[in-house]
């Protein structure tokens, strides 16, 4: 089975063709925002990290921004550096350029301040957009696809309808030779034994148990009941009583295929296809960023309460399990999986409807969040303090 995508010099295939404007540090966001506002065809990754952090986090931020720049949906990159930040913007330039993508960098301090940097940034971004704007889509095999998955704003319908639809899609894409990545390690707590059982090896199984233990220990170290943090007040209002219940519903979206391994937060997928886990928290900005780092061309996102978020360069297909929410929030929700709850459709029927939409989205059709430009859900998950 094929889709029509943008074939990059490194062989990856994108479903979108944007110029990514990447601030190397939070302090460069204002200049980057001015550039993105002015130049059509650009998106900005406006995160809040990149300085006054411990070395492992600075490396993590640099690695994350490199992986975002290497995303197949990104055709060219403009790095916006302040000049004195802790991230390694020279390594960003070098590693993203190595993929064969056009990359430019502007340095705010060196250029003489905000207005000059904005002008240089607009000129550079305009050239990059013009350079990639005539690229045409080509027919490629579906095995080039990387799907990211996530659930957010969950309620009791999520585990019984929308997550089951994503599980159906996940199995189908894995069987077609594609790659699927799911995360939200917090939402494995109480269900990790079921995931470890599906690991391809004991080593991978133990790694799954390890990342869950580390995540739970971070919560335990605060010395309180994590309930209300996870599950969230909205989850609880929606009927989810414990993290165990939320997790058991959440893992339904991973389908049933064997788990090939565990990726770190900033990692990109390799040529080893199939179903993978990425170690991420559950909060939207951090997981959407981590998932875009994998190289995913799109995300399937399940919700019950009604989560509208999206990511700048990665279309997000919203699958709503709650029929009442779907009615209330039709302009944010792409697929009505509430029909499973009302008994009008089966999981397979909504699964096929979703699969057909995914094919259209891969070929260029916008998701509802893209059309609304509700796509600012971006931030980088760091582990240490800001110092």
């Amino acid at each position: 089975m094929n889709f029509r995508g943008y074939v990059r010099n490194d062989g990856k295939v994108g479903s979108r063709n944007v110029v990514a404007v990447i601030p190397s540090v939070v302090c460069a966001n204002d200049v980057a925002q001015a550039v993105v506002r002015q130049v059509q065809g650009t998106v900005g990754y406006f995160h809040h990290q990149g300085c006054c952090q411990l070395p492992p986090d600075l490396k993590r931020v640099t690695d994350t921004l490199i992986s975002l720049g290497l995303s197949p949906n990104v055709g060219a990159v403009l790095i916006v550096s302040l000049g004195c930040e802790g991230t390694d913007h020279d390594r960003m330039l070098k590693e993203i350029s190595a993929s064969g993508k056009p990359v430019e960098i502007i340095r705010i301090q060196q250029l003489g301040g905000t207005s000059r940097a904005i002008q240089a940034g607009i000129d550079a971004a305009q050239s990059l957009v013009l350079k990639i704007s005539s690229l045409q889509r080509e027919e490629v095999d579906l095995s080039n696809v990387v799907m990211a998955i996530k659930c957010g704003g969950s309620d009791a319908t999520s585990g019984m309808a929308s997550n089951c639809v994503i599980g159906y899609i996940s199995d189908k894409l894995v069987d077609l030779g594609a790659t699927v990545v799911f995360g939200e390690t917090t939402e494995f707590i109480g269900a990790e034994h079921l995931l470890a059982r599906r690991a391809v090896s004991e080593t991978v199984g133990n790694k799954i148990l390890d990342i869950v233990e580390q995540m739970e220990n971070r919560a335990l170290s605060v010395g309180c009941d994590m309930r209300e943090g996870q599950p969230t007040p909205g989850n609880i209002a929606g009927g989810l009583s414990s993290i165990e219940e939320k997790s058991l519903g959440a893992i339904a979206k991973s389908g049933s295929r064997p788990i090939q391994g565990v990726l770190d937060y900033a990692d990109r997928v390799t040529d080893h296809k199939g179903l993978w886990i990425k170690d991420t928290p559950g909060r939207e900005p951090e997981i959407l960023t981590g998932m875009a780092c994998t190289g995913a061309q799109f995300m399937c996102f399940s919700t019950g309460r009604g989560a509208p978020q999206g990511f700048p360069s990665m279309p997000v297909v919203k699958i709503c399990g709650n029929p009442l929410t779907y009615e209330h929030m039709q302009h944010d929700m792409d697929i009505n999986a509430g029909k499973i709850i009302t008994g009008e459709k089966s999981i397979a029927q909504v699964g096929e409807e979703t699969f057909a939409m995914i094919m259209r989205v891969l070929n260029g059709e916008m998701t509802k969040n893209e059309a609304l430009q509700y796509f600012g859900s971006i931030d980088i998950h760091v582990l240490g303090p800001v110092i």
Binding site: A156, G190, G223, R227, Q230, E245
Partner: protein, 103 residues
């Protein structure tokens, strides 16, 4: 949406999830299982959409099961028909408030 429906997901479950609006104390709901079998239960509290009802008596410190797996432990005696939620179900994970972390 007229049917006052509860779903029992797995044979081992002692709670069902209600997918109907406006379930008030004293209402009768139909709880279906995965084999299509149905039982009628009178609910003892107002229960919101998506929330759980006990489908058997659950004594304090008994495991509460949904999807055939543990979702928590009863913090009080719970009787059949009662709303099951954070007021009578304790999570066993991420419990930094308890000595030893969990259970």
């Amino acid at each position: 949406m007229e049917l006052k429906l509860g779903l029992k997901v797995h044979d081992a479950d002692n709670v069902a999830t209600i997918f109907a609006e406006g379930i008030e104390k004293g209402a009768e709901i139909e709880v279906r299982d995965q084999h299509g079998q149905a039982q009628r239960i009178a609910v003892l509290n107002d229960i919101p959409y998506g929330h759980k009802v006990a489908i058997e008596d659950i004594s304090k410190d008994t495991l509460i099961k949904k999807y055939g797996e543990e979702i928590g432990i009863a913090s009080h005696d719970i009787v059949k028909g009662e709303h099951v939620h954070v007021h009578n179900l304790d999570s066993m994970r991420g419990r930094g408030d308890l000595e030893g972390g969990r259970k």
